[in-house]
């Protein structure tokens, strides 16, 4: 496998050894780190586009949500899975990942093998697909409005980066202290952001913004918090692709 690595962030020595043995047996390229900072440094120094990342919880000093944040800032396509002996982990940690893997690793080997296959498939599909294919956003609407005016299209992407990025940061700040005022601001901002995701034909972001504004109960702080994170992840995914497709922006 080239340009695809499995990263394990695990502090328990026995589990590290077990995973390493499993990786060796299946011929997976694997890096094992005791904490998230070692993993960040590795990812900064190595340009793997595709990473399957297992984060064993509880993590210290950053929680899974923050780890996910950092991973997205580093770029590349990262698929993060939370790992623990028990499924009763904090809901936010679960929502920050896309799937949960239950330890011990040997018992979860089929699930892990399936994940590896899925990502290899995705990677292969991308390498054979036309370069214009983009799963996270498209420019159809912006081209339609402007009759293909590339200056307008690029200005709109810059506007998405800055305008939406600033408001995503605001959402994260308010999320730290979910009082009534901040919840109202979060809902207003979600409403404000919805058309930006729609203009890039990103249905996930648009749906999340809509649900955050109109469907998530103002009483349910945990859910509001999780929605903010999911919206941020969506923004990061779009920006990752925009940077890839428009490196000069």
């Amino acid at each position: 496998m080239q340009d695809f690595k499995i990263i394990l962030i695990e502090s328990v020595e026995e589990d590290k050894a077990e995973f390493s043995a499993l990786a060796k047996k299946n011929n997976w390229e694997c890096e094992v780190f005791s904490n998230c900072f070692e993993a960040f440094q590795f990812l900064k120094d190595n340009a793997e586009s595709y990473c399957l990342i297992f984060v064993s919880v509880p993590t210290f000093p950053l929680d899974t949500v923050k780890i996910q944040d950092y991973l997205h800032q580093l770029g590349g396509l990262r698929f993060t899975y939370v790992v623990n002996y028990s499924e009763t982990i904090h809901k936010e940690e679960y929502l920050a990942s896309t799937k949960f893997i239950k330890k011990p690793f040997l018992q979860a080997k089929d699930d892990i093998k399936q994940l590896v296959q899925e990502i290899e498939q995705l990677k292969n599909n991308e390498s054979t697909a036309a370069p214009t294919v983009n799963p996270v956003y498209d420019l159809d609407y912006l081209n339609d409005i402007s009759d293909g005016d590339q200056v307008f299209v690029e200005q709109s992407l810059i506007s998405f980066r800055d305008f939406v990025g600033k408001r995503i940061q605001d959402l994260l700040t308010w999320r730290e202290n979910l009082n009534e005022e901040h919840i109202n601001k979060i809902k207003e901002t979600a409403h404000q952001l919805k058309p930006s995701f729609q203009m890039l034909n990103n249905e996930t972001g648009s749906t999340l913004a809509n649900e955050l504004c109109y469907e998530v109960s103002a009483e349910n702080k945990e859910e509001i918090s999780a929605y903010v994170m999911k919206l941020k992840v969506q923004y990061d995914l779009i920006m990752e692709q925009i940077k890839k497709n428009h490196p000069k922006l």
């Binding site: 609407y141 912006l142 339609d144 409005i145 402007s146 009759d147 005016d149 307008f152 200005q155 709109s156 506007s159 998405f160 305008f163 939406v164 207003e188 409403h191 404000q192 952001l193 919805k194 058309p195 930006s196 729609q198 203009m199 809509n210 504004c213 109109y214």
Partner: protein
């Protein structure tokens, strides 16, 4: 050519509306909130207002009320998103001429603008 005041707090939407209208030859003034819009109305003559409903400082309904009281001859088109049906109804009760849903269809925008001017 007519001058249109576009009141929209989403920069991407505002720029897109402005781009399309300018391409059609209209002069466009952008306001990012109700307060700014009120100020622009006092400084310049407009033939049309296109406004969002949920705006910071002074919401769209308050702005419509203000414009219909002080500038009754200026037609108003409301920009709305899903789940705002009740507010759109309120806007129509205040006398707005038309509404467009976001994200707007560029041809529909021009068609509706031409219809009210």
């Amino acid at each position: 050519m007519s001058t249109i005041l576009v009141v929209e707090d989403n920069e991407m939407v505002a720029n897109a509306v402005a781009f399309k209208l300018k391409r059609e030859g209209y002069e466009v003034v952008l306001a990012l909130d109700g307060r700014e819009a009120k100020k622009e109305l006092g400084q310049k003559k407009f033939e049309l207002i296109i406004t969002d409903i949920m705006l910071p400082y002074m919401n769209g309904i308050e702005l419509i009320e203000y414009a219909k009281t002080n500038y009754p001859s200026i037609p108003i088109i409301v920009l709305s998103v899903a789940n705002q049906e009740k507010m759109v109804m309120n806007a129509f009760q205040l006398g707005v001429e038309d509404f467009i849903s976001k994200p707007f269809n560029p041809n529909e925008l021009i068609l509706r603008v031409k219809r009210v001017l």
